[in-house]
């Protein structure tokens, strides 16, 4: 209530002052104060007013006098400024030009965002509902979820970048992989007493490789068929036609897979190796493997690949891929001896004090637990690595260059000798591989799969792609992480502060509100270039 009345007061003050500043004109009819300056003045005025009301004990300002950790003066000025400044800026900008009915309507949205995001955050943080560790947990969960969104979002953006169509069936490509791989995972998880191999427990790494491979291959097959059967014949049709087809294909795939695998929700088996929190030893091993892997990869490809390319020019990208696979295998074999070396080395170098050992219930430093779960760590790092991989392919390789060329002009690309159909297929393949991988990550963290599981993540990832500017690859990555984090932090940060009960259930509302807002205010995305303008 108090927040509401304060915001109302700010709006009245801001637009009043903004109007005054607009009419302050130099003799040559230019405004005396530009709108940025006016906005700052208005913001400061709001902050001072907030403090004044609070000091005067008025319930109007005083009710907003939160338990300020910084003392009432700084606290009131600060909170006043945090809300007053953006409103002041908007008001001053609106007033600097012609204020239309549409502006008035948009103003409503803008104030609502400020009210919810800034007002809600202040109220939330002023009454510490959560500890720093809990906020950090929300954040990490957001990153993990965002990594998954980003991987799916790349599929939307890649296809849009080349065909200017939104592949609404992409969520189903994601589902197809995850759902199919579930059966492999379940088989691998069968314990020995039930006649299974329990391979998932005895050899989790290879099991996961297999699960990922099955998922990615399934997704790829589905996406390639989808493109071939549903989209390719419509390539020259008006844009609305493939869009509608995509929605139809989405339903078709959902119910086909429901037919294959049933309509029940299946619980994904637990991967015991990924249970619990990440330990220092795991983290050290990861960093060591990453460094060794990257260095040996670049060293060998630099040394060998050029020579190979010259000797066997038609192998194309095969040699670096083979080298990469060999290195990965070597690292896999190397990982457990390397880990013992690392752990014992660390123990010798930094012996653990006995008091600490008893307090933390650990015997070596390597067992120290980091504030992030194993599964989240796996999701975040693997999604980032895959995204870097994709980015490298698009920016650095011949096929990536051809993709970018086809995205700009298909006819001219064909004049260069590019098989446009093949490049489009490759685009679908890349998007599908990322979606298939995302599907497994999603199943690992949420521990369930069903035929409808692609719908919501697909829509969220589409939102992420739009947030980053659809067609823009780094944009999709950032949009995904951004959405994941906002969705995870948002309910506790914005909504609970405003006293909304069961705020966590509203996380989807936050995501789709963001979609609507971006479409209203920045249809080209937060960091996007306006494609329609650029094409002109």
């Amino acid at each position: 209530m108090s927040l509401t009345s304060n915001v109302l007061l700010y709006i009245i003050v801001s637009y009043g002052l903004g109007y005054l500043f607009r009419n302050l004109k130099n003799p040559d009819d230019t405004p005396k104060i530009n709108w940025q300056m006016a906005g700052v003045i208005i913001g400061v005025t709001c902050a001072v007013a907030n403090l004044g009301l609070a000091l005067a004990g008025s319930s109007f300002g005083g009710a907003f006098n939160l338990d300020q950790p910084l003392g009432p003066i700084i606290g009131n000025l600060g909170t006043g400024l945090l809300i007053g400044l953006p409103i002041g800026m908007i008001a001053a900008y609106d007033m600097s030009k012609r204020f239309t009915i549409i502006d008035a309507w948009l103003l409503f949205f803008k104030i609502a965002i400020i009210y919810v995001v800034i007002g809600g955050s202040i109220s939330s943080l002023a009454v510490p509902r959560y500890t720093t560790e809990q906020w950090f947990d929300f954040f990490i969960f957001g990153l993990a979820q965002g990594g998954i969104y980003a991987l799916i979002a790349l599929g939307y953006t890649l296809v849009y970048g080349i065909l200017f169509m939104i592949n609404f069936a992409h969520g189903e490509v994601f589902m197809a992989g995850a759902f199919t791989a579930f059966f492999i995972a379940r088989r691998l998880a069968e314990p020995a007493v039930e006649g299974g191999s329990a391979y998932l427990d005895t050899n989790p790494f290879m099991s996961l490789v297999l699960i990922f491979a099955v998922s990615m291959i399934t997704s790829t097959v589905v996406a390639v068929l989808l493109e071939r059967i549903a989209y390719r014949p419509l390539r020259r049709a008006p844009r609305l036609v493939p869009l509608i087809t995509a929605i139809g294909a989405s339903f078709f795939l959902q119910y086909t897979f429901r037919g294959f695998y049933g309509s029940g929700v299946q619980a994904y088996p637990q991967v015991n190796a990924l249970k619990g929190d990440l330990q220092v030893a795991d983290f050290m091993l990861f960093i060591a493997l990453l460094l060794i892997g990257l260095i040996t990869y670049f060293a060998t490809t630099l040394l060998l690949s050029n020579r190979l390319k010259k000797a066997l020019p038609h192998l194309g990208w095969a040699p670096p891929t083979i080298i990469g696979i060999i290195i990965l295998l070597a690292l896999y074999l190397l990982s457990s001896p390397l880990q013992s070396v690392l752990v014992s080395g660390a123990n010798i170098a930094f012996p653990l004090a006995p008091e600490m050992a008893t307090e933390l219930e650990i015997t070596t430093r390597g067992e120290y637990e980091l504030p992030i779960s194993r599964i989240q760590f796996v999701i975040i790092t693997s999604s980032i690595l895959m995204m870097l991989g994709l980015y490298t392919v698009v920016q650095r390789t011949k096929i990536g260059r051809a993709m970018r060329a086809v995205a700009e002009d298909k006819d001219v690309a064909a004049l260069m000798g590019v098989d446009v159909d093949r490049v489009i297929t490759m685009t679908f393949v890349m998007g599908a591989m990322l979606a298939g991988a995302a599907g497994v990550l999603y199943a690992l963290i949420f521990r369930q799969v069903h035929f409808f599981m692609g719908f919501l993540p697909g829509l969220k990832a589409f939102t992420a792609a739009v947030l980053g500017g659809i067609g823009n690859i780094p944009g999709a990555m950032l949009g995904g992480f951004f959405l994941g984090i906002v969705e995870s932090l948002g309910p506790s940060l914005f909504l609970e502060g405003l006293g909304i009960p069961a705020a966590y259930q509203l996380k989807d509302v936050i995501a789709f509100t963001m979609l609507v807002l971006v479409l209203i205010f920045r249809p080209a995305g937060i960091m996007g270039v306006d494609l329609s303008k650029k094409k002109a």
Binding site: N306, K309, K310, R404, V412, L415
Partner: protein
């Protein structure tokens, strides 16, 4: 036998009959020019040769091989490169990437380096800007880039669609001199132009196209003194 032959080609855009039986040929080592007014069908002729537009009737033959059933992207491999109308550089790719796209059909790194050196030799300006996004180049530089890119494919026949369009007179002269250089280095050229004066100046032979039909064909010198050509395309009464 000519290097490139177009035999009674009819091309359509939907119901629009754009080429109504075009026949022309280009011999090895020649510069042949195709001149005509707006909408006469010059670009369509080049698109038909490159396979972007497929003729409904007639054939395009390169060194005796009928290209009717060759995919568009394979026609480059056969030795035909085109600099399309309006240049068609990839605006968001860098100059170097554009040139690498030109060499898409080749896989030999050494050859790529040699060809790059050759293109940079012909167009030193491109070397200065090789890291820049092609969209930020000036119109003249984009024309150079489009030509350099086409050369990277090592074509037997180079199709140029109005390379002088929108360029300052000095640059036009420059571009035409470059065309002669490229031709002297062994590339056969089919040049589409509205600037008939300049085109006939450098060409060996010429064709005049009107509403989808060839109405005149002769040596360039003879066309220059042809009354109809003088009136319609050279602005001489």
């Amino acid at each position: 036998m000519s290097l490139l032959e177009i035999k009674d080609v009819h091309s359509y855009y939907g119901a629009i009959h754009a080429l109504k039986g075009i026949t022309l040929s280009v011999d090895e080592g020649e510069i042949v020019t195709l001149i005509g007014a707006n909408g006469a069908g010059k670009s369509t002729t080049l698109k038909t040769i490159s396979g972007i537009v497929r003729p409904r009737h007639g054939a395009v033959v390169l060194a005796g091989e009928d290209l009717s059933n060759v995919a568009t992207h394979d026609i480059v491999t056969k030795g035909i490169s085109q600099v399309p109308e309006g240049r068609g550089v990839f605006a968001r790719l860098t100059v170097l990437e554009n040139l690498e796209m030109g060499a898409y059909i080749h896989n030999d790194n050494q050859q790529l380096a040699d060809d790059l050196a050759r293109v940079f030799d012909i167009f030193p300006r491109l070397k200065e800007r090789y890291k820049q996004a092609a969209g930020t180049l000036s119109g003249g530089e984009q024309q150079m880039l489009a030509m350099g890119r086409a050369l990277m494919a090592r074509p037997k026949v180079l199709l140029l669609d109005e390379p002088s369009m929108g360029l300052a007179p000095l640059l036009v002269k420059n571009i035409f001199e470059t065309i002669i250089t490229i031709n002297n280095e062994g590339t056969t050229i089919l040049l589409v132009e509205q600037n008939a004066r300049m085109a006939l100046e450098i060409a060996t032979r010429g064709y005049v196209i009107q509403t989808g039909e060839i109405v005149l064909e002769d040596d360039a010198k003879a066309l220059q003194s042809n009354e109809m050509v003088q009136k319609a395309y050279l602005g001489i009464d």
